[in-house]
């Protein structure tokens, strides 16, 4: 198999390095001596999958710390897929070159909704039945985890199991139970697995619908299936496993550098933000642990860059000390430090200067909305003054290219709010002209707002494609010199919105779209919206029901049974506060907001270092 690939197949495809494995720090375990054999399947290209830190965590954890085995596979690009189908080569794992069907568990990472067609395609390339109820004793368990599965329902019919929450907290236990009960038949094994906290077996539930299409009730079909699925949370991140020998790809990954996860979770409480709820509460690593991880990772990889990552890295309580320490330790060796996200304030810019003493590339800030009114409404606690101070600090210290992130199509948005985006860009450009000798480049990236489950805006309608296009035209009608606007594809946002708040009725649509040839839907060159529309029409899906309707507070939402720890009552209050334009502050430096997470999980915010908060 490997021989045929290397001699006959790979020389004919683009970027063959995607399919060869054998990277430094790859762990190839003895197949026969390993207990449970699992393959981690990332439903996108290798270079994207290799940039995903969650995969590296699970890979190291299972292979280094347990007697199980975890191999890897990624979506082949279309040229490779064509040859594989023609030559009858099944999708294989990069460590052993075994087909996926040989494994006990195939685990997909669902990082974004639109990767679902790639998952179906990968199962098909593995000769594994796509529908869970068509898989038998001879087939692997097909499971999924990741942020998207906090609403697993649109995908429920394709998976045997979903894992909800922090994967490293549950996967070892999950594989241990499989090993312990390996003599059981599939259904009985699934019953054992359903007893694990954070594990959801969709086949054990029946959904009854009202005549208007909303959910009437969810019935557990077996006693092992709990009514609610509570997400799993790593309570002590400082002691949690983190890979010190990450796999080092030969070809360039999208994020090709060492990574320190300084903390998990963000409690700024932006009302549109899915990650802000599902990754609560904030848990930090100590500087001591991070410095040790930095040293080990660099020694084991030789990376020339290290990124400090999290949902909001500048909110890490020891950020100043950590960054300065790392710069002092590594800059002489030509190793640079990068920050994955910046806060909109002058302190952030000063720190960014610290890490990029010489080369000033593009600086990115995210005000999210143009007017103060709308920023208050979405609880993006940034004032215009903070933004201008940040921009001023940036231009003063030599940056001359700035990227700003905005959302449009937000709840309650009116024409003045769009106008404010343009005003803000003009003011930013004006500040730039005062401090920069060269012409400044301002880029604004505009994402269409997609309401997500488990957020305060989960009841809100999503702007239609037509509305979004109209807003886009409005924003684009006047060109501003040296300011470039770019927009997310409103058609992609429409489909994302459909699935992020969808239910089990959508599985037929996904299947139909895949059958028609949809794949790599997040790649513009492969995105076939026409085929999606055909599938929607053939499956008679009323997309307005999912996207443009105001949902009532007493409706049973498809994802309500997933317990993130944040109460529905809190989300409702936040939604109402959005109407009033009332802001809710971050509970790390103000009073508890009563979101419910700490009480519910009997854990506490885990803040490790002296807190330095730039007001």
């Amino acid at each position: 198999m490997k021989d045929k690939l290397f001699r006959k197949i790979l020389p004919k495809v683009s970027k063959p390095g995607r399919y060869t494995g054998n990277e430094l720090n790859m762990i190839k375990k003895d197949w026969d001596k390993s207990q449970v054999k699992m393959v981690f399947a990332f439903p996108d290209l290798y270079e994207l999958g290799m940039s995903h830190i969650g995969s590296q965590i699970l890979y190291g954890l299972i292979n280094e710390k347990t007697s199980h085995l975890l191999e890897r596979t990624y979506t082949p690009w279309t040229d490779m897929e064509d040859i594989m189908r023609k030559e009858g080569i099944p999708l294989y794992a990069l460590e052993s070159f075994r087909p996926l069907a040989d494994f006990d568990v195939v685990g997909f990472s669902l990082q974004y909704e639109m990767s679902i067609t790639n998952i179906l395609n990968m199962l098909d390339l593995s000769n594994i039945p796509l529908w869970a109820d068509q898989r038998g004793e001879e087939h692997p368990l097909v499971i999924a985890g990741g942020p998207v599965v906090f609403n697993p329902e649109p995908f429920a019919d394709f998976f045997d199991v979903f894992i909800i929450g922090d994967g490293e907290e549950v996967l070892v236990e999950f594989l241990d139970i499989i090993y312990e009960h390996k003599s059981l038949n599939r259904k009985d094994l699934l019953k054992k697995l359903a007893l694990i906290k954070g594990v959801y077996v969709p086949a054990f539930y029946k959904i009854n619908y009202n005549s208007d299409g909303t959910i009437e009730s969810r019935i557990s079909l077996v006693e092992e299936a709990p009514e609610k699925i509570q997400k799993r949370v790593v309570s002590n991140l400082d002691e949690a496993y983190f890979p010190e020998k990450p796999i080092l790809p030969f070809m360039e990954a999208v994020h090709d550098r060492a990574v320190l996860e300084v903390m998990r979770g963000c409690q700024r409480g932006c009302r549109f933000c899915h990650a802000g709820t599902v990754y609560r509460p904030v848990r930090e690593r100590s500087i001591k642990t991070l410095e040790k991880q930095a040293q080990k990772q660099l020694a084991n990889t030789g990376y020339e860059e290290m990124s400090l990552t999290s949902l909001s890295t500048l909110d890490y309580s020891g950020i100043d000390r950590l960054v300065k320490g790392l710069v002092a330790d590594y800059s002489d060796e030509g190793i640079s430090i990068s920050l994955s996200s910046l806060r909109v304030d002058a302190f952030s810019i000063e720190l960014a200067n610290e890490v990029q003493k010489v080369r000033k590339s593009t600086l990115t800030l995210a005000p999210e909305a143009g007017s103060q009114r709308l920023r208050d409404s979405i609880n993006k606690n940034v004032t215009e003054d903070q933004l201008f101070k940040a921009v001023e600090a940036a231009f003063k210290s030599g940056w001359n290219s700035l990227k700003l992130y905005f959302m449009f199509g937000l709840p309650g948005e009116v024409e003045e709010d769009l106008e404010s985006i343009l005003d803000l860009l003009k003011k930013v450009r004006y500040i730039g002209k005062q401090y920069s000798e060269r012409p400044v480049q301002i880029r604004a990236s505009l994402a269409s707002f997609v309401p997500k489950g488990h957020t305060p805006f989960q009841w809100r309608p999503q702007a239609s494609i037509a509305e979004l296009e109209e807003k886009r035209n409005y924003l684009e009608r006047k060109k501003i010199k040296n300011v470039r606007l770019s927009f997310h594809d409103s058609r992609t946002s429409f489909l994302e919105g459909l699935f992020s708040r969808g239910d089990r009725q959508l599985s037929q649509l996904i299947y139909r779209a895949w059958e028609k040839g949809c794949k790599f839907d997040s790649w513009s060159e492969h995105f076939r919206f026409d085929l999606w529309l055909e599938a929607i029409s053939e499956c008679e899906i009323d997309t307005d029901f999912y996207s443009s309707r105001i949902r009532s507070y007493d409706e049973i939402l498809p994802w309500d049974f997933i317990d993130t720890g944040v109460s529905k009552e809190f989300l409702r209050l936040e939604n109402e506060r959005a109407n009033e334009g009332a802001v809710t502050s971050d509970c790390r430096h103000d009073d508890c907001n009563g979101c419910g997470i700490c009480q519910h999980f009997e854990i506490e915010l885990d803040i490790r270092e002296d807190y330095q908060y730039a007001p």
């Binding site: 390095g17 054998n22 360039e252 084991n300 990889t301 010489v358």
Partner: protein, 225 residues
């Protein structure tokens, strides 16, 4: 100080691009804690240069790199330290100190030897004779002047035949760089013209790189000044 090293890139790494190879070497040097020198300027980088590009799809027995160090390191120590951390399939064969004014690898390497391996079934001596006896060896150019007819004859110096019980090979010594550059895929096209079937070349690699001076072929380690 400056070092020149000769290294081996095994079959499993044949799909690395030149940039991949350079990145892999740079990261290995960091892992080995070799005191590499950094360039000045906005974006400091290692002063590492790699000889002629090893094409994607073939592996190499004797490839070359030059590196500048900020401290003295014994060549043997350099080789051992690096070999300890290199990924499986890459190995430093030899290494020696060179003068700082030694001409760059890219500028001196002007010949290379490619090996094409076959299963039984071909009389390689006949292919060799046919090629040697041809007045001209025209194939379609694969390089920058894609599609234009190119005569390989002036760029082919020597053809060797190795016959083993299982696998036999043709080893073709050709010109590289300026004034004429013979690509391995043009050689495949040439072999096809001489009757070799599409799937019958079961392996290929670059055996060596040379500095040719008139009719003498030196290795880049022999010709350092």
């Amino acid at each position: 100080m400056h070092l020149r090293a000769e290294y081996y890139v095994g079959p499993d790494l044949r799909f690395l691009s030149n940039l991949d190879m350079k990145r892999m070497m740079a990261r290995s040097l960091r892992r080995a804690s070799i005191p590499y020198a950094l360039s000045a300027g906005y974006n400091p980088h290692m002063k590492l240069s790699i000889g002629t590009v090893l094409p994607v799809g073939i592996w190499g027995k004797r490839e070359y790199l030059d590196i500048e160090l900020r401290e003295e390191v014994e060549p043997l120590v350099f080789m051992h330290k690096l070999n300890e951390v290199l990924p499986a399939g890459v190995k430093i064969n030899k290494c020696q100190v060179i003068n700082s004014n030694t001409k760059a690898l890219m500028r001196v390497i002007n010949a290379a030897s490619y090996a094409f391996c076959f299963n039984k079934g071909y009389d390689l001596n006949i292919i060799k004779e046919n090629i040697e006896n041809s007045e001209s060896l025209v194939v379609e150019s694969r390089g920058k002047k894609k599609g234009i007819d190119k005569d390989l004859k002036p760029g082919i110096f020597k053809i060797g035949v190795k016959i083993n019980s299982e696998i036999s090979s043709l080893n073709i010594l050709v010109a590289a760089g300026e004034p004429i550059n013979i690509r391995y895929d043009e050689l495949i096209d040439l072999l096809k013209v001489h009757g070799v079937g599409d799937n019958d070349i079961i392996d290929m690699f670059r055996e060596a790189n040379y500095v040719r001076v008139e009719n003498y072929f030196y290795t880049p380690l022999e010709k350092v000044n």
